[in-house]
């Protein structure tokens, strides 16, 4: 129990009459890859947004590494080591891939009230940025303007940027959204690598990926966590089957 890196307790978020997060209680243990699955509209992205600080919950608390971060602004949480990737690609489209990652490195390399030196010559930013691109397999695309990269490459770059902030925990919001099978397979490999060093909260629709990667899975339906457990237990859980998996299997034929 003492080993929960992220502790969510009683988190509730209402939008008018809609309850997007309904008394969510969830622990993510140090070193685990915890996946959250759930049908569309279950409130997965709303949950992530509260964890990163973009949305304020109506009730409940979030603790990260023992500290209450419920009311901290976004950039302070990032400083503590909580990094996110976005479901809809959110990059600096007019910068090169390397500049994108270097900016993320810069965010955690002291203050940026430095007005004179050409930052593109600063090896202490450039070298980690290149290493980050290398880690997600984009090193040969470093000098390409991001707007000209493919969708799959954007997703990889998202991860590289989250990593460049030297996080202790990654919040990944559907990293495989819109990817082809080949790209997905590459992303699974990347995540498998990351799992060794990082605690990860993964939101993902791709069931194959989730069951291959996750140590534990929580199922979110209408803003409520209806089950948490190991992949095998989740697969066997009758409530989950009716609420979610059955629906998928039926749709998949």
């Amino acid at each position: 129990m003492a080993d929960a890196l992220l502790k969510i307790d009683g988190l509730t978020k209402r939008f008018g009459g809609v309850i997007a997060s309904d008394n969510i209680v969830l622990d993510v243990n140090r070193g685990e890859l915890h996946a959250i699955i759930g049908p569309n509209g279950a409130g997965k992205t709303t949950l992530i947004s509260q964890l990163t600080g973009e949305l304020a919950p109506n009730l409940g608390s979030i603790h990260f590494d023992g500290a209450d971060i419920t009311a901290l602004p976004v950039y302070r949480r990032s400083a503590l080591g909580l990094a996110r990737s976005f479901q809809i690609t959110s990059l600096f489209l007019d910068f090169t891939a390397l500049d994108n990652v270097a900016l993320a490195v810069q965010a955690h390399a002291g203050h940026s009230f430095r007005f004179w030196r050409d930052t593109r010559t600063e090896e202490q930013l450039r070298a980690p940025a290149r290493a980050g691109l290398d880690r997600v397999g984009l090193s040969n695309r470093a000098d390409v303007v991001v707007a000209n990269l493919s969708h799959g490459e954007h997703r990889q770059l998202e991860i590289a940027m989250a990593l460049a902030t030297k996080p202790r925990m990654l919040l990944l919001d559907e990293p495989m959204a819109g990817m082809g099978p080949e790209e997905s397979a590459r992303m699974v490999e990347t995540l498998r690598e990351l799992k060794r060093d990082l605690t990860i909260l993964l939101i993902e629709h791709d069931m194959e990926a989730v069951f291959a990667l996750a140590d534990r899975i929580s199922v979110l339906v209408y803003g409520r966590v209806i089950a948490t457990g190991a992949p095998a237990a989740i697969r066997a859980n009758p409530e989950v089957r009716t609420a979610y998996l059955g629906e998928q299997e039926a749709a998949g034929g």
């Binding site: 400083a79 959110s90 900016l103 810069q106 940026s112 009230f113 007005f115 030196r117």
Partner: protein
Amino acid sequence: MTAWLTPRNAVAVVLVALLALLPFYASVTGNYFLMSMFTRILILAMAAVSLNLIMGFGGMVSFGHAAYIGIGGYVVGILAKEGIGSGFVQWPLALAVSGLFALGVGALSLRTRGVYFIMITLAFAQMVYYVAIGLDRYGGDDGLTIHKRSTFDGVIDLSNRTLFYYLCFALLLAMVYLVWRIVNSRFGMVIQGARSNDRRMRAIGFATFRYKLTCFVIAGVMCGLAGALLANHTNFVSPAMMHWTRSGDLIVMAVLGGMGSAFGPVIGAIAFLLLEEGLSRVTEYTNIILGPLLLLVALYARGGIDGLLARVHRG
């Protein structure tokens, strides 16, 4: 070896050379009107360069930038009227007041975005405009004549027109260089990142507000300097120098010249003010020509003249 010899750089070098030689031409031909006109162009180019720092690189479209010209100018004018003629007092104070004003405007306006940001900067500028009209002791609506230019004893004599021209020329180049340094520094990357995707900037750990506010103040101070220079150039300040249409002109200069580079607004200021001057000799309806021209730039030449030159190189 010749990588730097692009059409874009060639135009910049030729322009700078022509500007450097202009006083010689003026003294040979006795055409001092030309030099005076270009002194004004250099000063307004500074204002456009400073605006471009926040607008082009920072995405903060200030529609009240002429207010800083007015503030810088009025500080010089008011002090001169009160018998304080030393530039060592006037100019630092002009910059300080401009910076403080920018701090206030920025602290409020940067909490909003898009059209609201534009409206708040405009509202503040209008406020200063009407305050100036209300200053009866300093000429009110009619403006205030400055009988003596700022004195910098033992350093430079501003009443010498050629020296004054070169001072403006040097300050403009220094300002372009400063903006260029800033834009490529860590600070500049934060500013451009916030323009590109502010949300992501915060997600990776930047408190973007304080960087944008700092940038806003830097631009205000730069423009305040342009105001102090303009007051010395014309020996006159009036509310008209910060009318909202003047703020619009500055935006047009930056857009016309190109917001993507530190030097672009200089090209824009020269092009805009020469066009305005030239057209005003032909017709009093200069905007009939300037308007559609700007439309063409907005539609077909994003990046302005500077952007066109960059494209010529790429082929």
